[in-house]
Symmetry: C2
Subunit: 318 residues, 2 copies
């Protein structure tokens, strides 16, 4: 049986799985990234866990290769560069070192781009040649597919749309210091910041008057909106409006058939999606109106990142 | 000898030329677009002029096909749709009708995308897989090349970057009514509007205090800057700053190796290019800094649009 190893490197967890050609994740596991601050130890841990996973399969698989999704990864150089949420600083020659431990075909890519490739091979992007996958988690990530191919960029850093300057709203700084940067508004973190902002702007009663920023959770905001909390409802509307403005601009770029959304913020469902569609229709240039779909990811949440990473290798076996 | 017919349809002039495989325009001519408000007459006029041009060649050529660049053209449907500066309204099935008169391989594309293809085959983009060509004339046009291919978009309308909402400056409306739209600032027209704006903002003495908007010409603004006119210098700086902000955002999208600039505004040379490079370096995300070039077009001004159009056919003969 042909199998690809998929690895998703996150600031909190490192997820590893074995993925078949239909995008099924047959075995999976994870460990805490921050427990391995030394790169060599970290990669040894990966190797050990991969061997364990393979041992759990009933038959000995034919391993085609290993795909890796990571923040700030350059697909062209095989490096992870200045990733804010990882412990390894500077430019890390991740692929070169990993190949020494597991000699096999191996690719690394920005995690959002890997997610887009996963959608293209296994998810909602299957029948599309032009779409943009957007991950709305702690940050805002994007993977752009045009003409049926993922866009890499000159040295592998295309799609950093979270740091596009929207010069909009109240001029918030992103983690990278971009003033008015998109992900300061449109992400799980951005929504929490907006809960504070709305309390500063309006005097509405709200359950959030007695909850500190650090204790805020996305699910609570959704629940509050369902109970009619005006600050929660205002926050979703504001987030959706800025997101719609951004998607309207992105549409003028590659004219995608759809935006495929995934990540924590999407779990808020209609509270974000309904105002998003309404504003998008308002902001789109006439030539694009009615032609751009908003879709939720077709990948199962838990294994989407692993399958996306595995897609880096499966892409070459079609 | 193999030859491609290149046609550039503009609001003012329609240019026609015969282009060889090195991108040399062997014969060329033009006529005034507005003198042929009827599509059938217009296309007959094209046919007549093409025949005349071919007659002027010393040997009978082997015509490989005809490439056409036009505003608001959909490459996928072969149509020109709601072009503000053309007399034919609504959706015009241009390619279908033209093929009836000249049966041969024929393609049509947005003029800025055609220009990008021209740069890719014959100009500064020859050795690049990722660049964005920008035309700075009456409006702001863009053609995006990524992974070595021009990006078409879902139904052929990618690259309408002139209507990206920058929500910046003084919130000008574009011709399409987009508030704060890029081409209201960054284009030959935008620069003239900025000459007025700067006079409204500052009390500097300037030669432009006695020139009305309709009498303003791009060359005069360059000349004034050279003579130290403070309004002209402020206008270039303001234009360059907004353009740099836009290019920094575009870089986060497809991460081009270079922006290749062409069109009237580029003739202002250092007055636009020097502040543009300075601001771009300031606005780019660190991961992109020092990796993005600003280049002037490698195509000869007069025939660039014709060669770009011809590139639509030459692309398939490489």
């Amino acid at each position: 049986m042909d199998i690809v190893i998929g690895i998703d490197i996150g600031g909190t967890k490192t997820k590893i799985g074995l993925v078949d050609k239909e995008g099924n994740c047959l075995e999976q596991t994870f460990f805490r990234t921050k427990e391995y601050p030394d790169l060599d130890n970290y990669q040894n841990k990966i190797k050990t866990m991969v061997d364990e996973l393979i041992g759990e399969l009933r038959e000995t698989p034919n391993i085609l290769g290993c795909g890796i999704g990571a923040p700030n990864a350059s697909s062209k150089r095989g490096t992870i560069e200045n990733a804010a949420n990882l412990l390894w600083k500077g430019t890390v020659p991740f692929l070169e070192k990993m190949r020494e431990k597991m000699p096999m075909p191996m690719r690394i890519m920005n995690d959002a781009s890997a997610a887009a490739l996963g959608e293209m091979l296994f998810g909602r992007g299957k029948d599309m040649t032009d779409f943009i996958a957007i991950t709305l988690g702690t940050g805002f990530g994007a993977g752009i597919v045009a003409n049926g191919h993922l866009i890499d960029g000159y040295d592998g850093f295309a799609g950093e749309l979270g740091h596009v300057d929207m010069t909009i709203g109240d001029g918030r700084l992103t983690g990278l210091g971009v003033e008015g940067g998109l992900e300061a508004y449109v992400s799980a973190t951005g929504l929490k910041r907006t809960i504070l902002y709305m309390q500063s702007q309006f005097m509405d009663e709200s359950r959030f008057r007695s909850i500190a920023y650090k204790d805020l959770h996305g699910e609570d905001i959704t629940k509050a909106a369902e109970e009619g909390d005006p600050i929660a409802i205002r926050a979703f509307d504001y987030t959706a409006k800025i997101m719609a403005q951004a998607l309207a601009n992105f549409t003028a770029f590659t004219q995608p058939e759809a935006f495929i959304l995934m990540g924590g913020l999407v779990n808020s469902g209609k509270w974000i999606l309904e105002p998003l569609e309404r504003y998008l229709d308002q902001f789109l240039l006439q030539v694009y109106r009615g032609k751009v779909k908003i879709l939720e990811s077709g990948m199962e949440g838990k294994t989407a990142a692993i399958c996306g990473a595995a897609a880096l290798i499966w892409e070459n076996h079609r």
